[in-house]
């Protein structure tokens, strides 16, 4: 249950980070008519943030390394 609580905590943090990065005002910082690596900045930014969020969800759901180790211990 403790593991579950920390998981919810980590995921909620990812949620707020996502809201912050995907909406006003942070979004306006990248809303410029320039390109990076040939890709318009806004598009590149949004897809990168999106991929980053997915990565963070993976990390958050995996749990801390120690938890995983103790889980395997329980398995034995």
């Amino acid at each position: 249950m403790n593991d579950d609580h920390s998981k919810i905590g980590r995921l909620t943090a990812v949620f707020f980070l996502g809201v912050l990065l995907l909406t006003y005002p942070i979004l306006t910082l990248f809303d410029h008519s320039i390109s990076l690596f040939g890709i318009p900045l806004l598009f590149l930014y949004l897809f990168t943030v999106w991929a980053g969020l997915i990565g963070l969800i993976v990390l958050a759901t995996r749990g801390a390394l120690r938890n995983r180790l103790s889980d395997t211990d329980k398995g034995r």
């Binding site: 909406t23 598009f43 999106w50």
Partner: protein
């Protein structure tokens, strides 16, 4: 190559393949070797979210608004991060309460309300039917487009196309058939359909592959990768301005509102509820799905912008509908194989949605609208139908056909005026109205039925006003001025700019406004009415069961509030009618085995079994209907507020009882400690007394031995030794007398010789008695005795004993040579008070409290063991109290001690 018959063959071949996969999936499920029980299939089934809207419509949207197509996918990604908190709770609750639709969820949460369930059903059907029609429109449009290969300039006028010539009409029937076969194969109490899920997961792979194929073809086949593509697109002014969002508050507010809408929709869409909650095999699958599903959306959206921009460059004149770019691009470049793949991909996106949505809607229509209405028919004949199962299934099947045909009709009458995405967003806004009731109901126990009804009602009304009425305008049924000037020319009420607000990703984006006002009003009404209206006992119960689901499920999952009994044969018959005899018997058998029950011996079902039966039924016919059905056979002890209060009262009594127990235990523990203390005191007393007895005895014996062994001893020595023997014997006698006295006092066998006593003489007698002792220590003694001390009633000898005890005590404590004892008598109106004051070391306040207790001796640091048996003061206290007086001590360390007592004057 791509003639009509080929396309028809491929289309129906594809649908046939779906049938085969679903059949295989069901067969494996029946054998107990599920192919859908893993997180990957689960995540793929969630991707039923990506419909023809995603497949064709996103490109159309991107060609209008640039990145504006994306919030629809960012919202679900954000909700996925809350998935472990929100979705898992919904899944957990639904599994425990056997909830099978979103209408049932809302109804069950708010006291199994029939009204609420019906309302959600109606809103869902009205909101989602246009969405279904969007899929059929996509199938129809792309069919007409691909059959005219390689010509992409097709203008379809649906008023000229009769449904007989429209393949979407036949596809619609095929999908209805599929939904009937695999969605209503039998009446499941869990409503899980593994074959259907398998087919949906397969469709998700097909649409992803098809879209990636066309994306890669245009980006890397026609152009030289993303850089080249965006570089060339930037040279077209109309495209370059899509690279950024307008930096205005309205646009960013609109952007946020779209993300918010999609967040709510992913929870509230009936088909998402079906795949996420109902078809979920294992809650743990959610853990992987909450990142796999966003990843799927990310990948399928990678090429939306490239396809849109290339389409705009290839067809600059706007004669080709941007919604069809995905298909038109491979067609104009002669890629017939790719075009066919894209067509199939679009078909898979559309059919997956239609199948799941109709199954979900038909369950809702049946369980939350039709059955409750039929159950309302008086005389209860309906619930006595012999083949209730068959009846329910035919209601479901009819509902499926009804929903699909309604969708088709809508597409033919109204749908052609709209782009794919705008229809979809209107549907999103409708179902988003469920969110306050659902999410509020998950975490806030205060939300009640009236609040939910008010919120839904207000939200639905604003949805109708801001989005549906204008669409009727565009179909020509209401004058155009309704939109441009507002009703009756009132500008503030213009549906697209309600109260003057105009947010949106583009300037003509009615969705953001509608979402803002409808959800705001919805939440306000839900919260406000919940605060100011009362909840029934049933609502309180359900609220607690939902909000605290993890707590209750740890306790075994049964409602602690339910009280009702029924006869087992009645329950069995009821379950048999609704689920089929075999299924009912099996369920009851499993229940009995799990709980080690033997039903041969009893015919009365307990509350647990009644609740189990109700949940079984809830899976098949919805919780509100199940409640009605079960209550027809249950001798209900109506769960009124009294019952709930009764349960609370019992709890309170238990708490009170346990508190009493605690107090009693504490008292016992105290008594026990006291006993132990007394026991150790007794031991101490015995050792003290024996020690005191032994000292004089040893003296007597040793002196007697000297006399015995020394015949030559002088006469004077002999007399001296005999004197010591006499003194020590007296001391022995005194000690023994004290112990005997104490015994008598304690047991009440003391004989008192009461007479008139002059206390002055008592004091003098006592002082004279121990004068030798006083002289030995050279202590100064002062008597302060006034004239005419009143006569008292008492035992002269005992009172002398008291004074001797106190004075001897004082002598003991006084320092030799400088010692001083003051004895005074004070005459008071009703009694006399005697003080005996010494200038010894004094005693601490703790010691003062115990000094009168028997066997207690005040220990003096550095002075060793005090002499005496420890009985003197205790005996004194007994005697004083027997005379009706009081005794106490005043002392401070190093300031001497004063023992005082009173004796009542003689009357």
């Amino acid at each position: 190559m791509l003639n009509t018959w080929t396309i028809l063959l491929v289309s129906f071949g594809y649908v046939g393949l779906l049938f085969a996969i679903a059949y295989y999936g069901d067969k494996r499920a029946d054998q107990g070797r599920s192919i859908v029980s893993n997180p990957y299939i689960y995540a793929l089934s969630l991707a039923v979210y990506c419909t023809a809207w995603t497949f064709y419509g996103s490109v159309g949207r991107a060609s209008n608004t640039g990145i504006g197509f994306l919030p629809v996918y960012l919202g679900p990604t954000l909700m996925a991060t809350l998935g472990w908190l929100v979705l898992r709770k919904i899944i957990h609750i639904s599994k425990i309460h056997r909830i099978t639709t979103i209408a049932d969820f809302v109804s069950s949460r708010y006291g199994k309300s029939v009204t609420l369930g019906g309302m959600v059903t109606i809103i869902a059907v009205l909101g989602v039917v246009p969405y279904i029609s969007l899929q059929l429109k996509a199938i129809s449009t792309t069919f007409h487009l691909i059959t005219s290969y390689p010509n992409v300039l097709v203008n379809i006028d649906y008023s000229n196309v009769s449904f007989v010539e429209d393949n979407a009409f036949y596809i619609a029937w095929a999908l209805a058939l599929f939904a009937i076969l695999f969605g209503t194969r039998h009446l499941e109490t869990t409503e899980r359909h593994e074959g259907l899920v398998a087919a949906i997961a397969f469709e998700s792979i097909v649409k992803l592959v098809a879209f990636l194929a066309v994306g890669i073809f245009v980006t890397f086949g026609l152009y030289d990768g993303f850089g080249d593509l965006f570089g060339r697109a930037a040279t077209v002014p109309a495209i370059k301005e899509l690279f950024v969002l307008d930096k205005t508050p309205e646009v960013f507010a609109g952007w946020t509102m779209h993300i918010f809408l999609a967040m709510l929709a992913i929870v509230c869409l009936p088909r998402q509820f079906q795949v996420t909650v109902v078809e979920n095999v294992d809650e743990a699958h959610l853990k992987k799905a909450i990142w796999l599903f966003p990843l799927y959306m990310l990948i399928i959206n990678l090429f939306v912008l490239p396809v849109a921009f290339i389409g705009m460059m290839e067809f600059p004149d706007g004669r080709v509908d941007a919604d069809t770019f995905v298909l038109s691009l491979p067609m104009v470049h002669g890629q017939s194989g790719l075009a066919l793949l894209v067509y199939i991909g679009g078909l898979s996106a559309a059919t997956g949605m239609v199948i799941v949505e109709t199954v979900a809607l038909s369950t809702m229509l049946c369980n939350n609208l039709i059955v409750p209405i039929l159950l309302k028919i008086p005389s209860g004949r309906f619930s006595q139908l012999p083949d209730f199962t068959g009846f329910l299934l035919s209601v479901r099947r009819t509902s499926i056909i009804f929903v699909v045909l309604l969708g088709y009709l809508y597409f033919h009458l109204i749908g052609e005026h709209y782009t794919l995405v705008s229809i979809g967003l209107i549907s999103f806004t409708a179902v988003a109205q469920f969110a306050p009731a659902i999410i509020g109901g998950l975490f806030w126990k205060g939300g009640n039925r009236n609040g939910a009804l008010a919120g839904l009602g207000v939200g639905f009304f604003i949805w109708l006003y801001t989005l549906v009425l204008p669409s009727i305008t565009q179909a020509g049924l209401i004058p155009q001025s309704f939109i441009s000037d507002g009703p009756f020319g009132i500008g503030l009420l213009k549906p697209f700019e309600l109260f003057g607000l105009n947010i949106g990703i583009t300037t003509s984006d009615p969705i953001a406004n509608a979402v803002f006002w409808s959800i705001l009003a919805n939440i306000a009404a839900y919260v406000g009415v919940s605060f100011y209206s009362r909840s029934s006992a049933m609502e309180h119960t359900q609220a607690a069961l939902f909000v605290d689901v993890f707590r209750f499920s740890r306790q075994g999952g049964d409602s602690p509030f339910w009280r009702g009994t029924a006869s087992i044969p009645d329950l069995r018959a009821l379950l048999g009618r609704c689920l089929g005899e075999e299924r009912a018997d099996y369920a009851l058998f499993a229940y009995a085995q799990k709980r080690n029950l033997n039903w041969d011996k009893s015919v009365k079902a307990d509350a647990g079994l009644v609740e189990f039966a109700e949940k079984l039924l809830a899976g098949a016919i919805g919780s509100a209907s199940a409640r009605v059905m079960v209550s027809s056979v249950v001798k209900e002890e109506p769960l009124g507020i009294e019952e709930v209060m009764g349960i609370l009262d019992e709890t309170r009594q238990v708490i009170a009882y346990s508190q009493e127990l605690e107090i009693a235990t504490a008292e016992l523990r105290l008594a026990n400690e006291r006993l132990k203390e007394l026991d150790s005191l007794k031991d101490e007393f015995i050792s003290t007394v024996t020690h005191e007895l032994r000292t004089p005895l040893t003296a007597v014996r040793s002196i007697a031995e000297i006399i015995h062994d020394s015949p030559t001893l002088g006469a004077t020595r002999r007399v001296e030794f005999a004197g010591i023997i006499i003194k020590e014997s007296e001391r022995l006698t005194r000690l023994i007398n004290q112990v005997l006295d104490f015994q008598k006092l304690e047991s009440g066998r003391m004989e008192w010789q009461m007479a008139k006593v002059d206390f002055t003489s008592v004091v003098r007698q006592a002082v004279t008695g121990i004068n030798q002792l006083i002289q030995n220590k050279r202590i100064q003694i002062n008597l302060d005795i006034p004239e005419n001390v009143p006569i008292i009633d008492g035992d002269q000898d005992r009172l002398v004993q008291v004074m001797i005890n106190l004075v001897a005590n004082a002598v003991n404590f006084c320092p030799p040579d400088s010692g001083r004892i003051d004895i005074s008598i004070k005459v008071q109106p009703e009694n006399i008070q005697i003080d005996v004051k010494d200038n010894g070391p004094g005693i601490t306040s703790e010691e003062q409290q115990i000094v009168f207790e028997r066997f207690r001796q005040v220990a003096f640091t550095g002075k060793g063991r005090p002499s005496g048996s420890g009985l003197g003061l205790s005996i004194t206290k007994h005697i004083i109290e027997h005379h009706g007086g009081k005794i106490w001590v005043n002392s401070k360390p190093d300031q001497g001690t004063t023992f005082s007592f009173t004796l009542p004057a003689s009357t």
